[in-house]
Amino acid sequence: MFLELKDVAKTFTGEKQGAFEVFSDIDLSIEENQFVSILGPSGCGKSTLLAMVAGLESLTEGEMKLEGEQVNSPGPDRGMVFQEPSLFPWLNVQENVTFPLKHMYSKAEAQKRANDFLKMVHLSRFKEHYTYELSGGMQQRVAIARALAMDPKVLLMDEPFGALDEQTRHILHDELMTIWRETQKTILFVTHSIQEAVKLSDRVVVMGTRPGKIIADYSIDIPRPRHRDHPDVIQYEKQIMSLLEVEINKVLKEELNYENRD
């Protein structure tokens, strides 16, 4: 198996609140070149899980292997696109994309490589621009180019299009599909949108909460490009929706009960 998580659990121990278990017993095996989405209610630990794969968070329990090798620190074999904006404002677009290439390539090679990936996300024209001159969608595309430029085996994407409008989102979906086809990356994609997950993925992993765990794992074998009103697409969306509704209601009810506890 390409990427394998076994019995993974995460507990945060705060000084004031004590221990807080985000999730446990996460078993996940992902094949090379697979596009896997992770869906789940807010707070179920999707970002935490992704950060673990990136090597930014430690595993409280269990183990994680990439191509048979234990993973416990960040490495250039895993690139990440974050939920929050994370381009460096003091660098221009091209310099942002060459940031991870410093150890691997000469300056000229790095620049050429950056240009290639900027072309891939259709932003070559903006390589001299600074972050504040770019729209949110453009910033995320630069972030994608930056993550791809170091040629990771796995691309981790944490709600990369969450803050974008519907229109831009669709354009970027198509762009991402093309990139995925061309680069043959394994993609782990966190999203809130069921539509987005069904549209893009080979596989949709649904997480539940309190306690966090995987509650469903769908293989989506609908030929691409997938159309929004394809009956199978709608069928999957409905199925996942009803599953998620239960989870989201669970969270809401728990929070309400907490407010009204006395």
């Binding site: 930014l56 904006p85 404002p89 940031f99 504040y132 930056r146």
Partner: protein, 252 residues
């Protein structure tokens, strides 16, 4: 343009009132000199070179003192910003030191170094260092953790994180620190020079006071005000705006 006219009119009215009070002869000339006399004194001061010498000396003290305080302040700030131990131990004292008005250091400087330029420079350094240190410290504390996480996924680690991410991410606060250090040092400079044996603008001011030369006193006050405003507006304000804009911290 409109704003410029308003400002010009305002200053003309003030000068007019001033000249009016002078002409009314309520007060002797050595208390309310004519603005024209003040202007003449300034011009003469520049032509004869006294004022230029004083200005040159003041700038020398300022540049040496400010550079040192930026250097020392940055060093202290980085230590406090990076080491929790150091911050918990010494951070509070830094805030206390920063709140001491710079003129308070003058007697100490004079006792240590006499009435010369060394004492003045010492006061300038002390005046700027603590604000600088505090700003660099909060600059480092306020580096968005997001940037560090992103950099770590891109194979940056250890000292590389410091110089490729933390330093550039700190620049906006660093610039603010320099601006404040300049403002504090400039005030400290005048306090120090006023009580020193010269040369310098502050010394010229105390000299003018000793000889009851109100025209010189007002002239030098004007110079000091103009320099402060010009440096702040032309140098630091612009610099800060550009940096804030680039770093995405300005919403315009």
């Amino acid at each position: 343009m409109k704003i410029a006219i308003k400002r010009l009119l305002f200053i003309i009215v003030i000068l007019g009132l001033w000249e009016g009070i002078h002409l009314a002869n309520f007060y002797p000339d050595y208390i309310v000199p004519s603005p024209i006399t003040v202007f003449d004194t300034l011009i003469n001061g520049f032509i004869q070179g006294d004022l230029l010498t004083a200005l040159g000396a003041s700038f020398k003290h300022l540049i040496i003192g400010l550079s040192l305080s930026i250097l020392i302040g940055t060093l202290l700030g980085v230590i406090l910003g990076k080491s929790k131990q150091a911050d918990e131990t010494a951070g509070m004292y830094l805030i206390a030191l920063q709140s001491i008005p710079s003129i308070v250091w003058v007697p100490l400087a004079i006792l240590l170094f006499g009435f010369g330029e060394l004492a003045v420079i010492f006061v300038v350094v002390v005046g700027g260092t603590f604000v600088m240190a505090l700003n660099v410290r909060s600059a480092i504390h306020s580096v968005p953790p997001q940037f560090l996480r992103a950099a770590r996924t891109m194979d940056a680690r250890g000292f590389e994180l410091f110089y490729r991410v933390e330093i550039p991410a700190s620049i906006p606060y660093f610039i603010q620190g320099v601006r404040l250090a300049w403002a504090f040092s400039w005030r400290a400079l005048m306090a120090g020079e006023f009580l020193s044996n010269g040369p310098g603008l502050g010394y010229s001011l105390s000299f003018a006071q000793d000889y009851a030369r109100m025209d010189q006193v007002i002239g030098i006050i004007i110079i000091i005000g103009v320099i402060g405003a010009v440096v702040d507006q032309l140098v630091f304000s612009k610099l800060e705006r550009n940096v804030m804009k680039r770093w995405g911290l300005l919403n315009s």
